[in-house]
């Protein structure tokens, strides 16, 4: 049997936190899926961007276990198309911040082979460390 979806006021706190961090009125998302259809990284994702938003709407913290926000390249393809004017990229940022602010990094930069690191332009490293480490 499928899992039951718990909807309760306790979930509101998570929604409130993400709303505060992102500055976006996440509840206005009408789940049209434009963001998912626009996402360049969608092939790698376990949860689609629209689903990510849905989970935040319902206050489901499990969204933090997904890869989606870590795969977001902040390309704003979703943002410029969202018919409800939501900045989805900001929501992804808020979700990353929840984890990063607990001093849990997404990547261990030292684990990347030195020759790979050496080849990267700084812009890549700066960007990745901004988004993936706290």
């Amino acid at each position: 049997m499928a899992d039951k979806l718990v909807i309760s006021t306790e979930n509101e706190a998570f929604l409130a936190r993400i709303t505060e961090l992102s500055g976006e009125t996440i509840t206005v998302c009408d789940q049209c899926g434009t963001c998912s259809g626009s996402c360049p990284m969608i092939a790698e994702m376990d949860v689609t961007p629209s689903q990510m938003i849905r989970m935040v709407q319902l206050g489901q913290r499990e969204v933090l276990d997904s890869k989606t926000m870590w795969l977001c390249a902040s390309c704003f393809a979703c943002t410029v198309r969202c018919p409800r004017g939501l900045d989805v990229a900001k929501v992804a940022e808020a979700l990353r911040q929840v984890t990063l602010r607990k001093a849990i990094d997404r990547i261990n930069i030292r684990a990347i082979p030195a020759d790979e690191l050496a080849e990267l332009p700084q812009i890549a490293l700066v960007g990745a460390l901004r988004k993936l480490t706290g």
Partner: protein, 321 residues
Amino acid sequence: MTSEKHNAAQTLEKAGPSKKTRFPYYPGCTLKTTAQNLEASALASAEVLGIELVELPRWNCCGVVSSLADDDLIHHVAPVRNLIRAQEMRAAGVVDGETRLVTLCSMCFNTLKRSNARVKESADDLKTINEFMYLEDDYDGGVDVVHFLEVLRDVGHERISEAVKAPLAGLKVAPYYGCTLLRPKEIGIDDPEAPTIQDDLLRALGAEPVDNPYKKVCCGSYQIVQNRDAVADLAYDILRHARIAGAEAMTTCCPLCAFNLDRSQREIGEKHPDHEPMPVLYITQLMALAFGLPPECMRFDLNYTNPKALLLSTSLAGEEA
């Protein structure tokens, strides 16, 4: 470097623009290393058009990719610090009161412009950041961040055409816009869904822009650090569609796009034997080429996929290129 300046100046003399316009210019770290070809070609081409990009004497990394969390101000310190440097330059009388700060790297452009917009909009945020600064003057919100392509658009493509010495006739180029030149809408320099600014410039240079439906699709950006395969897949799609559309080369304005699209062709080649390598050039490299500038202004040696064969085949490059 001397020879480059000398040559540019000569060309300038021939083109005969009367007065030089000086802009404060923010390079960004990558332009000093892997993307020296972007900087060299842009500065030299600008000179041909009577534009001098005066590098800020002191600048720091823009802290690329704007912080998007509403409560995160610390990551706007770096961009604002650079805006203060531009403000200082103007105050010092170096750039004739020019308020525009020119950028070449589209990611730096995006980051600086976003932070600028944020502090212009929020007096509270500006105050907090100003208070956080050390010896710097307060930022007064008086700088406008622009991309070099906007400056060129203002110059007018007609004037650019006039400066062309070696038209890129017959060269089919797919301009690649990526994200940071276009999005978000209030930051971008062109229609986020139907951009033409590079197409127009290419046409002015005599090249034939090719419409690649993937020109706005993200290259994967900083995901290259943790997700090389995914970036290679994206690059493959972008390059493949450009090829289908008939392109022989691709242009960009972003050192990270350039890296992801150009460097990834090694992996793409391994994964897709049918992949035909495609040179990925900075649009300013093609401009310098069309302006007839010497090779040290193009620095094709820094491009991963050597464009020499292509340019020779279209008899666009002299022997030395």
